[in-house]
């Protein structure tokens, strides 16, 4: 399913979107499949599956550790696309990875593999708009959304450029720093949301871990919340993973179903 279709469907039902992140292959490929099912049962509307990289500079300790567990367990791009192809998640799947893995595979081949295996969009946290022309072309050719990030320090000029490029949704980084669950969802969320003028759905991520925070972000005007480290922490705990994942997803999704403003 395309990301845009998903958002249109949610719009019709007066719901907002829960986007969940887990790292593919953490702790192994089979478990990832079960986890994705649990996320979808719990109500996740879009699932981001991290393709682990050895040097994830934009990630905090939680996702770094997940990446290393996945790499140690043998995850690689070939197995990643096999895993994706073997899934029938029923929701759009987004690949989140670092640019060297895409570059090394070849942009054209990477985009083809995404399209063939059932990936709808790509997020590359170390690829700013200035460097993204070639990947953008490859993605367009294969009908894959290339999703860009904006941050509280992105100025107006670059904001315009990025919003003109992004498709599927725009990933709004609510506060400075790396990924990771935080007690405080930044005050800057409201401010940045008011600066992001676009028809593309606005998804806010970085630091959101519970229902309360999700509700605040959505009330501030976001179309979607992105939650990663909170799910990855459950995976890392290794106990009743599927059950806990489903519960957390349901809880977060409930915030997305409240009266839509």
């Amino acid at each position: 399913m395309m990301i845009q279709e998903k958002f249109e469907l949610l719009e019709k039902n007066k719901e907002k979107a829960l986007i969940a992140y887990v790292c593919a292959g953490d702790p192994d490929a089979g478990t990832t499949k079960d986890i994705v099912c649990a996320l979808v049962r719990g109500g996740a509307d879009i699932v981001e599956l991290g393709l682990p990289f050895s040097d994830p500079v934009a990630d905090g300790p939680t996702i770094q550790a997940a990446s290393h567990r996945a790499l140690d367990a043998g995850m690689n791009p070939d197995r990643y696309f096999e895993l994706i192809a073997s899934m029938d998640a029923g929701v759009p799947l987004v690949c989140m990875t670092y640019y060297n893995l895409i570059y090394k595979r070849g942009l054209e081949k990477f985009a083809t593999d995404c399209a063939k295996s059932g990936i709808s969009g790509i997020i590359v946290p170390d690829l700013p708009a200035e460097e993204a022309d070639d990947l953008h072309t490859a993605c367009r050719k294969h009908g894959i959304d290339l999703i860009f990030l904006v941050t509280p320090v992105t100025n107006e000029e670059r904001m315009k450029k990025i919003l003109g490029r992004t498709s599927g949704f725009v990933y709004i980084v609510s506060r400075l720093g790396v990924t990771g669950a935080r007690a405080d969802v930044a005050q800057s969320t409201k401010e940045i949301l008011s600066r992001v003028q676009t028809d593309v759905p606005k998804a806010v991520g970085f630091g959101i871990s519970d229902r309360q925070q999700a509700a605040e972000v959505l009330a501030a005007g976001a179309d979607a919340v992105i939650v990663g480290s909170a799910f990855v922490n459950i995976v890392a705990s290794g106990e009743n993973v599927n059950e806990k994942i489903e519960v957390l997803a349901r809880e977060l999704k409930s915030a997305c179903k409240e009266k839509r403003g």
Binding site: K104, D126, L149
Partner: protein, 400 residues
Amino acid sequence: MKRSMYGKYGGQFVPEVLMPALNELEEAYERYRDDPRFLEELAYYMKEFAGRETPLYFARNLSKKYGTKIYLKREDLVHGGAHKLNNTIGQALLAKYMGKKRLIAETGAGQHGTATAMVGANMGFETEVYMGAKDVQRQHMNVYRMQLMGTVVHSVQSGSKTLKDAINEALRDWVTNVGNTHYLIGSVVGPHPYPMIVRDFQSVIGNEVKAQIMEKEGRYPDSIVACAGGGSNAMGIFHPFVGDKEVKLFPVEAGGCGLKNTEKEALHSASLCVGEDGILQGAHTRVLQDRYGQILESSSVSAGLDYSGVGPELAHLADIGRIKPCNVNDEEALEAFYELSRTEGIIPALESSHAIAYVMKMAQSGELGDLVVVSLSGRGDKDLETVFSLKEKENRRVCQ
């Protein structure tokens, strides 16, 4: 070609949150690089604090023994014991002009961390340095030095626990504290404008050599030899000579225990010699990686060369044939460490020992010509423990 590129290499492959900071840094550099007040202050620090200019020393004994004229550019005599201070003075001044209050840096051997600690203390910055846990262990004298000067040293436990992981951690700090913090990168690596800025501040080495060798020999050298990890001393001494095609330029990489890779690890740090096209820590360059693009952990007896990437401009100069990448292994570097100590009474850093080793190896071949300048990028005091612990293992070979 974009200004941020060297041929196909270079660029700015960083998280979006850092783009404004890189633009701000580039603008500041453009504004101050020719500003008389900035240049005057830079010159003052270079002379009075760093102790420049450094001698271009004619190594009489070594020359005699190896049958070619060898000059050593004595960057080991710069305050702190290595060329690293040239760059930290420049960038710290820039940070001061930009109104930043805090410096962060990565360090491998601890030389760049020490040089950052020096300018941090001297110019009144809050300073924090990231250093791989493995390097903290093998270079702990430098950790003490940094701490003495009021710098907080973070021991980085992730990945290979060396320079690459220290850079990752420093980048994570920077994305969090980008407003008040300048990230003082220590080599010609990372996203634009760093490779350019570091090269420019280090070019004082090559510029001095140009004047000194003309005065002593009345001509340019036939070849210049410098060790290359990230490549800052190499770019610094090469850059002023790049247009002088008759001068051969040799970056010497760490051959470690041989140019082979295991599944997760390279037994060397020779990214120019055998690395492949890739993107690492902000730049498109040559990197050590597996078939999927995962970065391999590098390896070398010398902490300062132990890095999986290399400066993008060096990658470009290698592609177009202007520099000739080569490497020597751990054993050869150690041999050179002893050799220079015995023949000249100068104890070189293990990094610089790689450059010396290449000259020892190639002097007879004619490849280097009759007049060779070697960048003696640092002094070896910091390496004594490493060298003695290797010796204590009853001359056990470095590589098993």
